[in-house]
């Protein structure tokens, strides 16, 4: 298929439609507004429903309801709006409801700024809601990946009966790139026998709930969820390695900072320094084993973590490395993006050049 030029937010919205999502509930916030805008036009055209809720809290609970009915459903927001959705997300994990949630991150804390940031890494990977829950987090670095992973996310959500988050910095939502529409490999998915679709008088009603008042039952529920999360950790880790073999500096970056790191790698190469990049595509589960293996190479003198935050993923980097190599940080929060030159300088400082 011929390449087309898509804005990230539009591509995410179109990808959802291609994945069979017919329902979207959300509330506007910059820099993700083209997602609801696109779906408000296109969902009714395919017999779906777009609804602008009265708030983010209402929207996430509408998602809960539609997912409970067994339908493919999505919501999107940006950082402060995603904070408001945290209660709904933990309820959905507790009630085992599949849905796709997009966070097009902007600078924080609080209302912050509308410019791109990655300050919600902790919230996305640790869970901003209560209880022992986990959900997959995909971090696209290009518009092509955004389009691909949104489609994949719907399948994965249904497969595990669990919400999946797309975590991207605002740049991914706002920039234009050439993409090609391609179908993602489909998983074999079980029928949604648990959904509240009407009994027709032929079965007991299905109940969607996260309340287990008996502590023993609640403990059993947690054990079962933990097994599901362990399966995700075992089977769903995704990452990309670029130029890592025998590198002297190993960058770790996700989303658009990984592209700044790539520009830095090309610059460092000119200066005779071999640098590589390990880019997590899933932030949870984190590609710890792959990162440890790359960093364990004798050639690696330092690991440099690049983020649009004050340093959040760096905790997972340090856990993965188990102290095997020194870790340096370069990044900015609040909507300012480091330049390739700044990333180069941090890498050189980390190896004493």
């Amino acid at each position: 298929m011929a390449k087309e030029l898509w804005k990230g937010n539009e591509a995410i919205a179109e990808a959802a439609i291609r994945a069979g999502c017919k329902y979207f509930f959300g509330y506007p916030i910059t820099p993700q507004n083209e997602i609801p805008e696109y779906l408000s036009l296109h969902l009714p055209q395919i017999g779906g429903c777009f609804l602008q809720a009265e708030s983010e809290v209402a929207a996430i609970n509408m998602i809960y309801g539609a997912a409970g009915c067994g339908k493919r459903v999505m919501t999107s927001s940006s950082s402060p709006g995603i904070s408001l959705k945290q209660e709904g997300i933990t309820y959905m994990c507790g009630a085992e409801l599949p849905a796709v949630i997009v966070n097009m991150m902007r600078g924080g804390p609080g209302l912050g700024t509308i410019q791109p940031a990655q300050g919600d890494y902790y919230q996305a990977t640790r869970g901003g809601g209560n209880g022992d829950y986990r959900h997959l987090v995909y971090a696209p670095a290009t518009i092509q990946e955004a389009a691909d992973y949104v489609q994949k996310a719907f399948d994965v959500a249904d497969y595990y009966r669990n919400p999946v988050m797309i975590l991207a910095d605002g740049m991914i939502g706002q920039m234009m790139e050439a993409i090609e529409w391609r179908e993602m490999p489909k998983r074999e998915l079980p029928e949604k026998t648990w959904a509240t679709t009407g009994t027709k008088g032929e079965r007991k009603p299905n109940v969607i709930n996260s309340l287990y008042i008996d502590p023993n039952l609640c403990a059993d529920h947690n054990d079962r969820l933990a097994k599901k999360y362990a399966a995700m950790e075992e089977n769903e880790v995704l990452f990309e390695e670029y130029n890592t073999e025998n590198c002297e500096v190993l960058f770790v970056a996700y989303g658009t900072p990984s592209r700044i790191a790539r520009a830095a790698i090309r610059q460092l190469e000119k200066e005779g320094i071999k640098a590589g990049l390990l880019r997590p595509i899933t932030l949870w589960p984190f590609p710890s084993k792959a990162l440890k293996a790359a960093a364990d190479q004798a050639s690696v003198k330092a690991v440099v973590d690049v983020e649009l935050s004050m340093g959040q993923m760096i905790d997972d980097v340090k856990i993965a490395l188990e102290g095997c190599k020194p870790v340096a940080f370069v990044g900015k929060a609040g909507g300012v993006v480091p330049t390739p030159a700044e990333v180069c300088a941090a890498a050189k400082a980390a190896i004493g050049r």
């Binding site: 390449k3 087309e4 910059t30 700024t113 706002q174 050439a178 700044i260 090309r266």
Partner: protein
């Protein structure tokens, strides 16, 4: 001959802002006293005001929307009126990238009624919402309806960002031609990355505006042409 007011509209992502910045710089180079107004109330990123320093160095007056342009507030800077009131200026108005964005122009209708202006529809054949002549026409009419003005010309600005080839430009020229026949509007410019200008010599019937790319992504900001070609990773 350019009219005193150049209004740039089109679908977001078509490259309106890149075109507007290049056009303003060219008008300034031609010795015109130029002002550029960033009237985009739709897009929060990749805005012409980001090039304010470059434009001001070239002697161009830059007018941005409220809060220095960094807040997505649909409020217009009253300084925009200076372009209409001080007729010594040649004005370039960079309008937000969809029919809703174009609505800001309606506010200036009383001034435009007394002015000679060009309202250019920037067309990119690779944007799905304007990829066929029918869709482009519908988009053009929606913009005209919202801004209460009629377009006066088409700009072929067909590209695929870093993956652009001369063939893409020619594909866009054919679409612009088709839209031109449907509307009677002339194709005023083909906006072409300057490195493709020699390859397209003699293949485009209308004027070519060679583009320098200013609206870069953070990882595209390099010092050399050679590096520029390595953008695509």
């Amino acid at each position: 001959m350019n009219k005193r007011i150049q209004i740039i509209t089109g679908h977001y992502g078509s490259g309106k802002t890149e075109f507007a910045v290049n056009l303003a710089l060219r008008l300034a180079q031609e010795g015109k006293k130029t002002a550029l107004a960033d009237l985009d109330i739709v897009n929060p990123y990749f805005r012409s005001f980001e090039q304010a320093a470059r434009l001001e160095n070239a002697g161009i007056k830059v007018i941005v929307t409220s809060c220095g342009g960094v807040a997505d507030i649909p409020a217009l800077n009253p300084a925009v009126l200076s372009i209409f009131q001080d007729r010594s200026y040649t004005g370039v108005l960079d309008i937000g990238g969809d029919p809703i964005g174009a609505r800001v122009l309606a506010r200036f209708a009383p001034y435009l009624a007394k002015e000679e202006f060009d309202l250019l529809f920037v067309l990119n054949a690779n944007r799905p919402e304007t990829g066929t002549a029918e869709k482009a026409l519908a988009y053009l009419r929606a913009i005209e309806f919202e801004c209460k003005q009629k377009a006066t010309g088409i700009v072929n600005n067909t590209h695929l960002c870093a993956q652009t080839t001369p063939e893409e430009v020619l594909k866009g020229a054919a679409l612009a031609q088709e839209l031109s026949e449907m509307t009677g509007l002339p194709t005023v410019y083909h906006a072409v990355h300057r490195r493709f200008v020699p390859a397209l010599q003699g293949q485009l019937a209308e004027a070519v505006l060679p583009l320098e790319i200013y609206m870069k992504k953070p990882w595209e900001i390099t010092n050399s042409e050679e590096e520029e070609l390595l953008w695509q990773d």
